[in-house]
Each structure stands twice: as structure tokens, then as C-alpha cells.
Amino acid sequence: MIEPDRDAFEPPSDTPVVELRGVSKSFSVRNSVLERLSGSDSSAKAVCDVSLVVHPCETVGLVGESGCGKSTLAKLVTGQLTPDRGQVRLDGTRVGGVSDRSAGQCRRIGVVFQHAGESFDPRWPVGRSLSEARHDADMGSENERGLGDIEQLLCSVDLGPEIADRYPRELSGGQIQRVALARALAHNPDVIVLDEPVSGLDVATQATILDLLADLQQRFGIGYLFISHDLAVVQYLADRIAVMYAGEVVEVGPADGLFGDPNHPYTEALLQAIPSPDPGVAPPTPLDGDPPDPTDRPTGCPFHPRCPAATTECAERHPEFETVEGTRVRCFHAPEATGECEEDRSYQPNRSTRSSRIHD
């Protein structure tokens, strides 16, 4: 393998590589003529007032149900979308959408999508796609990470050099995911946005990819924004976890603390929905109800219609963040709201359980 040029581990520095400040994004829903005449303006609020930072060499896990705005948030970071309100900052500099970013700014962020096969030009051997990603990074840069050529890139993701001549359709899911990771590394990014990077893979391949991700982070000091609906996967990799519900971050904190002792009722509900491998344990309790319609959000706390601990206050006012036991929670009743069922809850943070998922 290749020699890491940097020290194996750098402690997180003070400047976050990516910072979101109060970011909001809504999508206008095409109304019929009649609705437009009646003046009802419905726009779907995909992301509401989210603030989040990713430091170098840190993995921030982003979890939540489908449709909670995880991927929209990722697109705001990569610049595929621009926020309606709030700021996206790269290394302390405010940036706009991808067309407003300089090529250098674009290359600070790597991306890996769920369907990596789709993200390679089917007419090109993957080696050519890698050198396309590599090309401009080469010019004027000091080749910092020793990933000079394609062979080394492939080698760093545990693939042989012969892969470079293959076409995307000739590679297996695990291979193409590794190649996608190699492409994200090719331009020496500070942060890689991983949007469900292992969701389409079988459990064994998932495990090797996760180990590879952890290994690459150690070697190169990259920050990860890791998006997944699979709590076990997130817990395995993440240093900090942000839980999203209906476009808002409802709880954010260190991975172990947050999963070991959740303070937001929604986080707790997510954890309880994980099936346990232990036959003696009661079956998972799925959360009742549906996530709110993004065009018609509930007043107050967005989670209150489904929350077992909701009071009238929850329906009237929107909670702000409070710091409870090291995590930041958006709930009026934290930590009492989750305390009562703490004893009979059987979920233990278990790093080997990679197959369990929340219900999608």
C-alpha cells in the first residue's frame, strides 16, 4: 500500500471544513391554476434552519427517516442546491451554488452517491473518469497525499490497477463503490459527502467499505458527512450524529452519548425501531403515524403529533436547542421525555450489529 504523507491522525482543528449556518431550503410545489388564483401558496420546506459543522478528520452522521431532508442537506453542501436562507461555508468562506464556486472550491468537497454505478460515464473506462477527477487537482498542487496516479488511487481503495480499464457496468457493486471513493479522493478534498454510500450493498461488502472509510480518514484526515438511514452503520463510523426530523436537526451530539442515552423522543423512537438479534427481547416498536407533509408542517415542535410526551406547549411553541448531557436537543421535555422507558429499553450500542436498520 502507499505511505501516508501526513501524520496518521490529526486532532480536529478549530476551523470546520464545512459549516452550515441556519440553512433553509424549500421547493415550490406547482399548483393548479385554481389554487394559484385562490392565493394559497404551498411550498415544501425540505430543510429548516439547520446549523451543522464538520471538522477535519471527523465523521458527522446524519440520520432520519426517508424524506426528512437528509439528501437535500447534502445537495446544499455540495452546491447542487443553493439555500433560501442561511449560509454554507467552506473553510470559513461563504460559498454559493456549484456554478458560483471556483473549481478549487468544488474540489474541496468529494461526493459518493448511493448508486455509484450511475455516477460514472458508461462510455468511459473508470480509469478515465478517475483521471478526469484527478486532472486539475494535479496542476500546481504538491501532490500532497501521494495519490499521484490512477494506480495508486485504486490501490488506496484496495483495488488492483487492472480495474482502470474496466467499464462501470463490468464492476460489482462493492468495486464500483470503491472506485467512486477513489474518485472522491482523487482531488484531495477536505470533506467527502457520503450519501447512503453502503445502502445498496450486501452486509459483508458494507463492512469492508466502512472499514476502508475509517482507514482512509485516519490516513488523510478527511472529514465525512455520512448520510444514512441505517443507524448501526452510522454508529459504527460516526464521531458525532445529527438526527433530522421533518427538515430540522432535532438532536446532535457525540455518537456514543446520543445512541446510549437519547434525549429527544424521536431519537429514542428511531432506536426502538431497530430489531434486536436477541430472541428474548420484545419485537421492535415502530413509530406510529407518518412524517408530516412538508407543505403543511405542524405548528410548534414538528414532532409533537407523533410524540408520546407531547404537551400543549409542544403544539404552540417551537423549541430551541438546549444542551442536555453533552448533546444539543430541540425538545421542551428533554431529558425527562425519554427517561421513563429507559429501563426496559434493551438497545445497547453494539458495534458489531451492522445489519439492523430502521424501518424505511
Partner: protein, 297 residues
């Protein structure tokens, strides 16, 4: 599963890499089509050089002679060798067909790219123009244009070009719309590449295959269109040895000299047949479902 060796699938053989350039050797019909086209091209290029006769020189002493050894396809009403005229006509017909198809392809692709990439009112305006053009029966519109411009070969080419680019534009636009939403285009943009780079490297190469198929199928139509307009007297004027013109002037002598009409007719038929065969098999190989399947593999 942990090492590269376990992860490496068996290398698929190259027959899965079917691209339109590699299809032809595999398909019998495509071979026949390509064979016909190649023979025609060779005849068109070298035939007139070999022929001892001149296509325009009249020899009234040997009018309407039946096919013989000296005149393999007989002579016409002015004593000109029909085979020689056919060979010269092949140059004209193929040349016109290629020129008109190229103009259609270039104009249509450009319009389609602009419409697909720009979107908004530009897209709307261009596509309504395309709809308008496609609403006319092509040959009738070409007839009107050629009629207004006056009878000449160049005007026929112009008329056919104006009529035919619309379907290319529509095809390219729809391909661009679907390709540009695909993730590899997004990734290329996220890598900080310019729109020009993405268009030239990713967009155009991925929309070109169906356009090539359409062009191949279109050549036959253009040959028919040219011959049709010339037959009606709007295209090549006598004594130009154009197949459609020959057909028109031979028609008068249908009873005395069957070869006058049949020779150019059979030529037109075989040429169109050849291009259609080739185009059909290209289309079958590159049809959306099948190419999607190819990518899945």
C-alpha cells in the same frame, strides 16, 4: 470479501462492450446493408472513370437500343449509354444524400442541444418551431420550397435540409434532457468542470448513438426525396444524369424501352434498401431497452 481478490469479478468478454462501431461485424443484415452501400460507393467513385461513354453526349444513330454487350443497360431516347448515366447519377444521388443528411444532422443536433440545455422560453420557442415543421408532410413542404426557389439541384437540397432537421432536434433534445439528469453529469459538474467541458465530454457522446441511427435511416429518405422532386421536374434538369430525372424522362418510353425506367428505379430501390437495413440493425442494437440492459450487466 475483504481483499481486492475476492472483490474482483470475472472479466466480462468484450461482446458486452457493443458500441455502434462494433455492431456491424456481428449482424448479418447490417453486413448486407453495408455491403450494398460500399458497392455503390465504389461504383460511384470509379464507375464513371472506367466507362468509355460520356453521360451527356448524344448519339442519335443508336437511340433506344436494348441492352447489349456494347451498352449493358441499353441506350436512352437520345442514344446515351444508360449504365454510364446511372454511374454518374450514383455520384450525384449519394453526394446529395450525404450532404443533406449532414446539414440536417448538424442543424438538428445544435438546435436540440440548445433547447435541451437552455430550457425555459428558448426551449419552448424552438420546440414549437419543430412541431410546426413536423406537422407538414415533409415531401409536400419540400415541394413548396423547391417550387418557390425555382427548379435546380441546389434548391432541392436546400428544401430537403429545411424540412428534415426537426426530427433530429427533437431526438437530441429529449436525449439531452434525460442524460443531463444522470448522476455522472452531476458529478462532473461537482468536480468543478465547466459546462462546455461537461457538454463536450459527457453530454454529446452520450446522445450521439441514436442520432447516428436516425441519420442512417434518413439517408434513404433523402435519396427518395431527391429522386421524387427531380421526377416532378423541380430538381436536376436534363441532361444532368440524376436518377429521378432519368426516371421521369424514361417514363414516356415505358412501352418501347423498359430498361429506361427500370434501371434507375432498381438503383434507387437498392440504395434505400441498403441504408435502411443498416439503420434498422443499428437501431435494434442501440434501442433504449437494450442499451439499458447492456449497462446493467
Amino acid at each position: 470479501m475483504s481483499g481486492p481478490a475476492a472483490d474482483t469479478g470475472v472479466r466480462q468478454e468484450s461482446d458486452q462492450r457493443d458500441e455502434w462501431t462494433e455492431v456491424i461485424p456481428a449482424d448479418r443484415l447490417a453486413q448486407v446493408g453495408l455491403g450494398i452501400i460500399l458497392i455503390l460507393l465504389v461504383l460511384a467513385v470509379f464507375g464513371p472513370i472506367v466507362s468509355p461513354y460520356d453521360p451527356a453526349t448524344q448519339d442519335l444513330s443508336s437511340r433506344l437500343e436494348a441492352p447489349s454487350l456494347t451498352h449493358p443497360l441499353g441506350t436512352d431516347q437520345l442514344g446515351r449509354d444508360v449504365l454510364t448515366r446511372l454511374l454518374h447519377g450514383a455520384r450525384l444521388s449519394l453526394g446529395i444524400a450525404l450532404a443533406v443528411t449532414s446539414v440536417r444532422l448538424v442543424v438538428g443536433t445544435a438546435v436540440g442541444l440548445v433547447a435541451g440545455y437552455a430550457g425555459g422560453w428558448i426551449d419552448e420557442a424552438l420546440m414549437r418551431l419543430v412541431d410546426t415543421l413536423l406537422a407538414f408532410p415533409g415531401i409536400v413542404l419540400a415541394l413548396v420550397i423547391a417550387g418557390i426557389l425555382g427548379p435546380s439541384l441546389v434548391n432541392v437540397m436546400l428544401a430537403l435540409s429545411v424540412v428534415g432537421w426537426a426530427s433530429y432536434a427533437r431526438l437530441v433534445r429529449s436525449s439531452v434532457l434525460s442524460v443531463r439528469e444522470r448522476e455522472f453529469v452531476t458529478v462532473a459538474r461537482l468536480l468543478g468542470h465547466t459546462r462546455t467541458h461537461v457538454t463536450a465530454r459527457h453530454l454529446i457522446p452520450n446522445v450521439v448513438a441514436p442520432v447516428v441511427v436516425l441519420a442512417t435511416l434518413d439517408i434513404g429518405g433523402v435519396i427518395l426525396g431527391t429522386a421524387g422532386l427531380s421526377f416532378l421536374g423541380l430538381g436536376a434538369q436534363p441532361p444532368t444524369p440524376e436518377w429521378g430525372t432519368m426516371l421521369a424522362s424514361g417514363r414516356t418510353y415505358l412501352r418501347q424501352a423498359w430498361w429506361l425506367v427500370n434501371a434507375p428505379g432498381v438503383c434507387i430501390m437498392f440504395t434505400v434498401f441498403g441504408f435502411n437495413l443498416l439503420g434498422d440493425s443499428l437501431r435494434d442494437t442501440l434501442s433504449p431497452t437494450q442499451s439499458a440492459q447492456m449497462e446493467q450487466l
